[in-house]
């Protein structure tokens, strides 16, 4: 299974050096998905994924602004990464075995645990996805979503009429206008769509989650060092939250006596050097974007995405977000 990775290794092996010598990181993001990546009225990219890109840049260069965002569609996201047009992809992409193995990519660490669900209008009085027999369902093509839906419908003997629209905005507005009875995508997407509706309470996200959708940033296969930086940046964000280090208090926390905090913040040990980075890398990251919880709060909570009791909660609170030890 390693064989295919050999040839790209030639060019991918030095992604780290290439990025460092270029001085900017090129990060693939969604063309527009509320909460995750989307330009605001002034044309500045904002969102959860976007902040991850900034965090990577802060880790690599100590400056969160040394990043360029390349909007990608569902079709060209993988080619954009394969061809070297982008260095890293933080674009709500599900980590699957086939993608990990056959596309010449490496997924790093799951930064968001998602799962596919359904949303309906409250007025339909539907309480469970099983009641969707005969419904019209809005779905995006060319993604795992579409296949999950057909698998699930077959398993549950449900007939449905699909409305398949490529661009998300269109799909959402089709649902909102009542073109479909139900809208299916990852729960996070549902939540963000729901919160964007004039009356969010008119929409219900059904309890069934029909798939696992771990979203993870991906890099080209072959440069383990670069992948490490990406992976550990994520872990730094988690660890910061575990340790209570925030954007606001990261300077004061430098004096925090806890050894793990000392190591994370580069006061103690050479963890940054080991990654090939500055020892203050984690400080830079947190200064730029805050910790994981802050990012979540900033971008996803306003969309109505629950964190408590979801897999995205810290492991200490019953979730799955867990950082390996910084030592």
């Amino acid at each position: 299974q390693q064989a295919p990775a050999q040839a790209p290794a030639a060019s991918a092996a030095n992604t780290f050096d290439a990025v460092r010598s270029r001085g900017t990181l090129v990060c693939a993001v969604n063309t527009g998905l509320a909460g995750f990546a989307q330009p605001d009225s002034q044309g500045v990219w904002r969102g959860f994924d976007v902040d991850y890109c900034r965090a990577f840049a802060a880790a690599l260069f100590g400056d969160p602004n040394k990043v360029r965002f390349v909007p990608t569609t569902a079709q060209n996201r993988f080619t954009a990464l394969q061809s070297g047009e982008t260095d890293v992809m933080a674009r709500n992409t599900t980590w699957t075995l086939s993608r990990d193995t056959s596309l010449g990519l490496d997924f790093t660490a799951t930064n968001f645990y998602d799962g596919q669900g359904f949303m309906v209008k409250r007025s339909t009085n539907v309480k469970s996805a099983k009641e969707l027999e005969g419904a019209t369902i809005c779905v995006q093509p060319g993604t795992t979503t579409e296949q999950n839906l057909t698998d699930w419908a077959r398993a549950n003997r449900i007939r449905f009429t699909p409305v398949v629209i490529e661009r998300l905005e269109e799909l959402v507005s089709a649902y909102a206008a009542g073109r479909c009875d139900a809208y299916t995508t990852d729960v996070s997407g549902l939540a963000s769509t729901r919160s964007a509706q004039p009356q969010p309470n008119d929409h219900v996200i059904l309890p069934e989650v029909i798939s696992k959708e771990p979203l993870a940033p991906a890099v080209r296969q072959g440069d383990a060092r670069f992948a490490d930086v990406i992976r550990w940046t994520h872990y730094a964000l988690i660890a910061a939250e575990e340790l209570g280090i925030t954007q606001a208090n990261v300077q004061q926390m430098a004096n925090d006596p806890r050894p793990e905090a000392q190591r994370l913040l580069g006061r103690n040990g050479e963890l940054g050097k080991m990654l090939g980075l500055d020892n203050a890398w984690a400080v830079n990251v947190i200064k730029a974007v805050g910790n994981y919880g802050e990012m979540f709060q900033r971008h996803l909570a306003p969309l109505g995405i629950q964190r408590d009791e979801s897999p995205n909660a810290l492991w200490t609170k019953g979730g799955l977000q867990y950082a390996p030890p910084f030592r």
Binding site: S41, Q42, P71
Partner: protein
Amino acid sequence: MSDITLDTAVAKAPEAAPRTAPLSQIGLAGWLRANLFSSWINTAVTLVVLYFVVRWAIGFIEWGVINAVWSVPDNQSQACRDIKGVGACWAVIAEKHRFILFGTYPYEEHWRPALVCLLFVGLYVVSAMRRFWRKELALIWIATLTVIGVLMWGGVFGLSYVPQERWGGLPITLILATFGLAFAFPLAILVALGRRSKLPAIKALCVLYVELIRGVPLISLLFMASVMFPLFLPEGMNIDKLLRAQIAIILFAGAYLAEVVRGGLQALPKGQYEAADALGLSYWQKTGFIILPQALRLVIPPLVNTFIGFFKDTSLVLIIGIFDLLTAGKTAIIEPAWQGFGVEVYLTVGAIYFVFCFAMSKYSQGLEAELNRHRVR
């Protein structure tokens, strides 16, 4: 003879004075009668059309002006939501117009793409004027396009560097269309010449290219540029997305323009070719000095029409995720606060496209009439 002329001039024969036509023939009444109510069927048509036009116009004015919301305090789109369906929410334009026009270009640097748009318009205006139809025009184009590149990218003369992914909105549309034309044009000339060549292999190659491209939709070429192009290049070499789309548009435009140019070449009398041959001019001298200057002049009106087509077609890059005017417009309404105001944004974007295309099409019609008058004389 001359005295007769004199006679008539002095002594006019008695004649019935020209009467004015009956009132029903002239003036407003005459005009109305002739143009709107000349027969009962005509009258019926007039009334029906009038009814619909008036009803639609009143409805539109009510929605678009009287009941419209023009602005809201920062992102509080609730006022807009309340009147949805009854009035337009122009507040979305007030809030998002700079994003629609310039996309993700750095906000403080928006004067640069704005200047670029003005330069493009200036370029079009200058190219439209017949007194600039000289060789120097090519220099003007090269100079302007260079300045545009400098402005957009920056990185020199104290302008900050702006990478290509941050460009967006109207400049992208103008760049795709104009650079598309500028590069497709020489290609088109070569292909058109090739298609008329006596050498069978070259001719076949050109025919194949033109027919292949014209037989498939532009979006399949754009898909190819976006998905397949990276496969064509050696590893490690990559071309950014805008450039790939630009190449697809150039290849596409090249085929259509080649047919336009070929039309001009065919319209040129054979005698011009023969006279040039008889003077001993070589093939390239003949082509450059005699054939092309005349043939291209003949095809300027269809050229402008083709250009309008490309201008509109650049909107298809939406499908591969490039932030042109239309994509920027659509992206503007992703933000939760502004979702659902597509019609307002589409109308605005449509108005921008319309202004450009309408101006060009009027110009081409005028030019065509003028050139035809020339040819008749």
